[in-house]
């Protein structure tokens, strides 16, 4: 996004983080993404108020109703309100995306920083181990892990999380290799700080930008992977209304009732698009040198 650089003359010096936040707030597309995201999160959080009867209330007499006043998004093959299913489903999709990213980032950052910090044999072992993971495309690895672990929300989170560990390890490792040679690390070591303290207190805060950017795109990637898993019949199982599971369930009615397929797909696309817009803005704000 092309931005006008406004020169502000102030006597007060702002920190790097404040500068970045300032740039982010000025970025209109990123803010639009954030607003859409907040709206969706609020709606999903309020699902219990909007649809108090829950996502599983069947009404066989009213199946396959096109969107109308009573059912704003229509009903599915069992007469369940699509609005309720989409709203409750959003909780699962967003939660899985977030939780899988936390798992992946947690393990990946620790592996990456240990590899980079100790170097040598440790580095070699960890990175060669991750190379094996890397040779298998992420989604395929998630499919393989998920198929042996079985369905369920927790297993889906683990499968998606583990399959994206190598990417986080790499994101953390590169910048740490550069930072660990700097004087403040030497100073900390001279003060006899423990390795763990040096890594978490001195090194990691200095390499946060690429990690934050990676996390912001990782959540949207996790949502898509979760949807793909349930679409293949893995991951979240019926009747849990995760968005991919909704897609998968309504696929066979695509000719007669296309709205059943359109609605959950639009939800995924909208949330992921909003997250990517925000993530792009975050990257531009944290690293103005990059110009996408």
């Amino acid at each position: 996004m092309k931005q006008k650089e406004t020169v502000v003359y102030t006597t007060k010096k702002r920190s790097m983080m404040q500068e970045s936040m300032h740039r982010l707030v000025k970025n209109k597309t990123a803010m639009a993404g954030l607003i859409v995201l907040l709206i969706v999160i609020t709606l999903c959080a309020l699902a219990g108020f909007i649809c108090p009867e829950g996502y599983d209330k069947q009404d066989i007499m009213n199946k396959f109703i096109s969107p109308c006043a009573e059912y704003p998004l229509g009903t599915d093959n069992l007469g369940r309100s699509m609005l309720a299913r989409v709203l409750y489903g959003g909780r699962y999709s967003l939660f899985i995306g977030l939780a899988a990213t936390i798992v992946a980032a947690g393990i990946g950052i620790i592996m990456g920083s240990v590899a980079a910090f100790y170097g040598g044999l440790v580095d070699n072992l960890i990175m060669r181990f991750l190379d094996a993971f890397n040779a298998i495309p992420d989604l395929l690895l998630a499919i393989a892990i998920s198929s042996v672990m079985g369905g369920g929300v927790l297993n889906a989170i683990l499968a998606i999380g583990i399959s994206s560990v190598p990417a986080y390890a790499r994101t953390a490792r590169g910048p740490i290799l550069a930072v660990k040679e700097q004087e403040f690390v030497e100073a900390a070591r001279a003060l006899d700080a423990r390795d763990r303290r040096i890594i978490f207190r001195h090194i990691l805060p200095n390499v946060l930008s690429p990690i934050i950017v990676h996390v912001s795109t990782g959540i949207s990637g996790g949502i898509i992977t979760a949807a793909a898993l349930s679409f293949l019949g893995l991951g979240v199982q019926a009747p849990t209304p995760e968005w991919g599971a909704l897609l998968s369930a309504s696929r066979q009615y695509i000719r007669e009732y296309p709205y059943l397929v359109t609605v959950p797909g639009v939800c995924i696309a909208m949330v992921v698009l909003a997250m990517n817009l925000f993530g792009d803005g975050l990257r531009d704000a944290l690293d103005p040198k990059l110009k996408y």
Partner: protein, 323 residues
């Protein structure tokens, strides 16, 4: 150069071995007895015991693993399917060309359209065309490919009836799957191309070329694009890997008899040897494609070629910095 290729081929061996080990361990830690899943709950203990014996599951892990690897290396034998007892290799070989063809077609669509769009967007930075390209760029990575494919079926096959809904009987059937996945993949290629072009567009050598009166077309393709090629090529590799898995998922939607439909069948029947073979095959293919791309670096960039001559070790360092 020959030595480098040989070295890279040798480096692939431990990686692929670890892939096999990883997949093997994954199956080993699976809860439940596979025999009970395959034979049903009313199988007698003797039947289960015979089944274990038949598929060699009574042996220790190391023996099973060694036998499996040796089978693949010496005879290209991936063992027998738990689903129907048939040799896996034959079934995979008969289905592989379909998936591979689609993945290649998809990658061609992504790379050609994405690169051209990226070049255009970089040259017209800030224009309406650039804005549109950037919207496409962000939409493409946001739409789930299986949903986009369903929407395309709805539009082109159900409503307009221009193309067949599903099946795989000739080039007409290739258009929808390769087109949908290819267009989505084009977005990341476009983003990478655009930013790589922008990295070079204000370089000193471009100004020099312009100062000496070089044609704009030559400047674009010979000076800017040539120097932007390394990240673009890197992305071709990851495009192929993603398109290969993407194809495997879309096969479900378009009822294409490839590796993907076989894999989903295997997953539903808990036929782990079949799943294992598919994953290993994909990993091997992706590794080979990445090797080809590493070799293509040398053709694209004389600086890389020069490091080949001094020593291959430096080349690896260089690649990390450039890519």
């Amino acid at each position: 150069m020959g030595r480098y290729i040989l070295k890279r081929l040798l480096m692939m061996i431990p990686v692929l071995l670890s892939v096999v080990l990883l997949i093997f361990i994954l199956q080993f830690i699976t809860p439940g007895d596979p025999a009970k899943l395959q034979l049903g709950t009313d199988a007698t203990n003797e039947e289960i015991e015979n089944w274990h014996e038949k598929y060699g599951l009574n042996d220790p892990f190391a023996v099973q693993f060694t036998r499996y690897v040796w089978g693949i290396v010496s005879r290209g034998d991936f063992g027998n399917s738990w689903r129907n007892g048939q040799p896996i290799t034959q079934e995979i070989i008969s289905r592989w060309p379909t998936t591979f063809l689609l993945a290649i077609l998809t990658t061609l669509v992504s790379v050609i359209s994405g690169t051209l769009l990226g070049i255009y967007a970089a040259l017209h930075r800030g224009s309406l065309g650039d804005a549109i390209a950037r919207v496409i760029g962000i939409l493409g990575i946001s739409l789930p490919n299986f949903w986009f494919a369903l929407m395309m079926i709805l539009l082109f096959a159900v409503r307009l009836q221009w193309l067949p809904v599903s099946g795989f009987y000739g080039p007409l059937y290739w258009i929808l799957p390769a087109g949908t996945l290819g267009v989505l993949g084009a977005s990341s290629q476009m983003r990478i191309t655009r930013s790589a072009m922008l990295d070079n567009i204000n370089a000193d050598f471009v100004r020099t070329a312009r100062a000496k009166g070089q044609e704009e077309r030559v400047i674009t393709y010979h000076h800017i694009l040539r120097n932007a090629l390394i990240p673009i090529l890197t992305n071709v590799g990851s495009r192929f890997a993603q398109n290969l898995t993407g194809t495997m998922i879309l096969e479900q939607i378009f009822a294409i008899p490839g590796i993907g439909t076989l894999m989903v069948l295997a997953i539903n029947k808990r036929d782990y040897p079949q799943l294992r073979a598919s994953v290993i095959l994909v990993a091997a293919t992706v590794s080979v494609v990445n090797l080809l791309i590493d070799i293509a670096y040398a053709a694209a960039d004389p600086r890389v070629k020069a490091t080949f001559k001094s020593s291959s070790g430096n080349f690896l360092k260089f690649k990390k910095r450039a890519g």
